[in-house]
Amino acid sequence: MMRNLLQYPLLKIAALSGLLAIGPSAGGEASDRSLPAPPANGELGFVVSYFIQPVIQGPDACPAGTVPKLRDAYLLRQSPEERARLSLKENEAELVQRWQADTFGPGGTNICSNPDMFERPLIGTLQSKHSWGLDLDGDASGKTDSADTCAHENFSTPTGEAGIDNQEYRVMGCTLEWRGVDGVAGDQEIGMRQFHASGEWTQVILLRGVDSLTNDDSVEVIYANTPDRPVSDSSGKFLPGASFTVSDKAPRHRNVLRGRITNGVLNTDPADIVLTQTWGQGGARDIRGNRTKYDFRKGRLRLAFQPDGSVTGMLGGYRPVFDVIHSPAIGGAGSALTAGIDCAAELRTLHQYADGIRDPKTGKCSGVSSAIRIAAIPAFVNDLPQTARTAAR
């Protein structure tokens, strides 16, 4: 639970850094310790307990500092004299009036609801060579266009794995929301944890046909949402051993994937993976409560089995660029005025660095490679292959 993170900042920082640094949870590598025996019926269920974009802290990431907020970005676009004048305390009201006015366009439009109507400079991108993630395109260099990708730089992981595709991180990794100010974690990390703990969009994973946790050349993977809330301890940590039923109500997200286990690591074949995403915890009445979705094209899971029965690893895939700023976009003017987010600049930069979802006609890419670190703990998953309605047909 988030409170603890705040309540004991230093203590938690140590724990958090530890989590970010250790191998298995980072890249989805096999544990060298002994794994549990395979289940008698070949079925293994999990509930996802961690689901956050990984950020690597360190001085090499954003040497120029974090991306300026709208107010500062506005100042930077002024002449030096004007900038100096507006920065004076007595002109505070004028500055506020002007930068805020600058976030609105004609006809009630604003920079976050209608980001493509505003022209803004690109935001500063991540400068480090390192990122967590998966090699989605199988191309070690990535420097040229392919049938369904566009040229881009690859990352390598801190553990030395090369060819990592994560353009989402490249673009967003220096925003204040992702990076934070303290060299520990950004608001996104804390917010996502807290948000996930609410159980509003609980995910379950069901493996079928598992003969061995070490090597198995064919495993069926159901990756789905459930309306059932996780059982957690008094500090909000999910507990293993609870039962969940795959959602049978719209929007029903039940992804059926094929995979294989090699040296204790499960990898799935690329396939579209769609999962529930509830932004802003709002009601259906306003934009804050919009129920959107995670949409991973050519998505894949890499999960390493752990001796305690859990799995850790990565979800990777290409996300439509707009999805990355979906949250501030539905937040509209509020995101701009209250949180100072420059949605237009972010969207433009995402387009600039898009490396996937290539339009064969135009040759243009409209998706960014992306990675989410996940961990999942043992659970009982009742699969509903058919909904009541389809079954009745």
Binding site: D233, S234, L239, P240, G241, A242, S243
Partner: protein
């Protein structure tokens, strides 16, 4: 629920009687009711037992419908040591703050019964003007309600009394409904409602001695078997004198134990026998037992009761098998504690433990195991004591006041990793060893379940030894304990004795002369719970009046004679 149609029917019948000039004529002028007007219940009162909270709630739901809210705190009935709350009810008085609560609860109920949404269901007449008092109408509404609340017809005096009460209150408040409301509230705080008052009449079969009269029998039957007030049929049977006729009593009681409502009665009985009031205060250390939460606490007694009623009623099972059956019920809330899958997202589903699970019967369930543990660790001693006291009706002495518990509580000591080892250390003290020899050997067989009843094989890194012993029989684990308990004659004699105490409100000593014979009959029935309760409900000994002689000067007048 007593059909409202019945209530209305009764009210209409009374109205008709009024129209014929019967009954109304004997009512005194409004506002003049005095002590003398209240029918003197001069037949001898031989027992007064305070209704339990669940009996009160069930009574209100049955008489007025489940949508009438009963909100408030009930003064608890104190459980006498080693006895049932049913016996405590015989001693229970009502304190000023308890009465204040009963008064508040009564006013909430009465206000609902005569509110816009409900009054037509209970009121068969209305005065021409709602602000007016109307004596005959008030009487015709209150009298049938009073018959259900007091579980007997109101005497003429009582009828007149409540009608005039309503009248006076209607005049004071300027509202006929308010008058009814206040009169009903008065009925609800009357000792005639709050206490189950058992009255006796001369026994024609045995001149000079007494027997419980028909209405007292009706109430005892319904409280014992249904945990609620008698319904219309049972009151009618009492009116016709059927309940003092052995053959008819047996027919009626048989019908009652075979009714679906017996489940409610049986739940109340086992809740009393197994001390379920303790679940209200069950607390566990959340750091040691993260799987314990309020939903789990709520599910624990329910799982036990579902196991009991499914086995004893739905399956007509043998009582002894309650300690060996692998069958139980699961719900999403409690599934994680057992680490088992639960398919249904809502509600309960039947579940059968696998043979190797060592979960056998009630003692293998989280409710029992968690209740008889400390907040941070299991307790073979508490578990063993509960087995002996609750299930075998054996009394274990309390520990002396000045015990040194250091050795038992020292869970952090690496030298004493398991409870068995810690208790051994503790029992080097001979004073302690005396009692622990009684409690610990059976309790230690349940050590493979931790302080909330979750499975474990190790404690502090040491393998757990779950061997146990009970009265000379050696066994292994919960399964072995269950079998041993099922085979012990004390187990069935205990439930037999409890059923007798529950029905009569008598203590263990009072019922002990009847237990052995009754247990034999219980055995002949294959230890069926319906057979046991039917026997208890019909055995003449249980109906006999066992009361201290009256104060001198009290006269015996048959109440029914007075009512006529």
């Amino acid at each position: 629920m007593i059909a409202r149609a019945t209530m209305r029917g009764a009210a209409l019948a009374l109205l008709a009687a009024g129209a014929l000039g019967i009954g109304i004529a004997v009512m005194p002028t409004p506002g003049t009711a005095t002590t003398a007007d209240i029918g003197e219940p001069a037949s001898q009162i031989v027992a007064m037992r305070r209704m339990t909270e669940s009996q009160y709630r069930n009574s209100i739901a049955d008489i007025f419908g489940t949508d009438i809210r009963v909100a408030g705190r009930f003064e608890p009935i104190v459980r006498p040591v080693h006895e049932l709350i049913a016996s405590g009810a015989r001693e229970a008085s009502i304190s000023p703050s308890g009465l204040e609560q009963f008064d508040a609860i009564a006013r909430v109920i009465a206000a609902q019964v005569f509110d816009e949404a409900h009054r037509d269901q209970f009121a068969s007449c209305a005065p021409e003007h709602p602000a007016a008092a109307n004596h005959p109408c008030a009487g015709s509404i209150l009298t049938p309600i009073g018959r259900f609340l007091f579980r007997r017809p109101l005497s003429d005096g009582e009828q007149a009394f409540y009608a005039s009460l309503a009248n006076t209150a209607a005049i004071k408040t300027g509202s006929f409904n308010k008058g009814l409301e206040l009169a009903l509230a008065a009925m609800l705080v009357s000792p005639n409602f709050l206490y189950v008052i058992e009255t006796a009449e001369p026994d024609p079969a045995s001149p000079g001695s007494l027997r419980l009269d028909n209405y007292s029998r009706a109430t005892r039957l319904s409280m014992m078997l249904w945990n609620s007030v008698p319904n219309a049929a049972l009151l009618a049977a009492a009116e016709q004198g059927k309940l003092t006729d052995q053959a008819q009593l047996e027919t009626i009681a048989a019908r009652m134990v075979n009714s679906p409502r017996f489940e409610q009665g049986l739940r109340a009985f086992f809740g009393d026998m197994l001390l379920f009031e303790k679940f209200d205060a069950l607390a566990k250390d959340p750091l040691i037992f993260p799987y314990f939460n309020q939903d789990v606490a709520k599910a624990m007694p329910e799982q036990l009761l579902r196991t009991v009623t499914a086995h004893l009623l739905s399956a007509n099972g043998d009582y002894r098998e309650l300690f060996t059956t692998p069958n139980t019920w699961m719900t999403r809330a409690i599934g994680p504690l057992y680490k088992v899958p639960v398919r249904r997202a809502q509600g309960w589903e039947p579940f059968t433990f696998a043979p190797g699970d060592d979960r056998a019967g009630l003692l293998g369930q989280a409710g029992f195991l968690a209740m008889y543990s400390h907040s941070g660790r299991s307790s073979p001693t508490l578990r063993g004591r509960a087995i002996r006291e609750l299930l075998m009706c054996q009394q274990v002495p309390d520990p002396p006041g000045n015990v040194n518990f250091t050795a038992v509580q020292d869970v952090a000591n690496r030298a004493t990793p398991t409870a068995r080892i810690r208790l051994d250390a503790h029992n080097t003290d001979e004073v302690c060893a005396g009692c622990h020899k009684i409690t610990d050997p059976p309790g230690l067989s349940l050590e493979r379940f931790d302080g909330i009843g979750a499975v474990r094989t190790m404690e502090n890194g040491a393998k757990i030894d779950a061997s146990g012993a009970l009265d000379g029989v050696l066994f292994e684990g919960a399964t072995g304990l269950g079998k041993t308990l099922a085979a012990s004659p004390d187990t069935t004699q205990c439930v037999t004795a409890r059923a007798l105490q529950y029905a009569t409100g008598l203590g263990s000593e009072d019922v002990s002369p009847w237990v052995e014979a009754l247990d034999k009959q219980f055995a002949q029935s294959g230890y069926g719970i319906r057979a046991l309760f039917l026997k208890v409900a019909t055995m003449p000994e249980a109906w006999a009046v066992h009361s201290a002689p009256l104060d001198k000067g009290a006269t015996h007048v048959s109440m029914s004679a007075l009512r006529r």
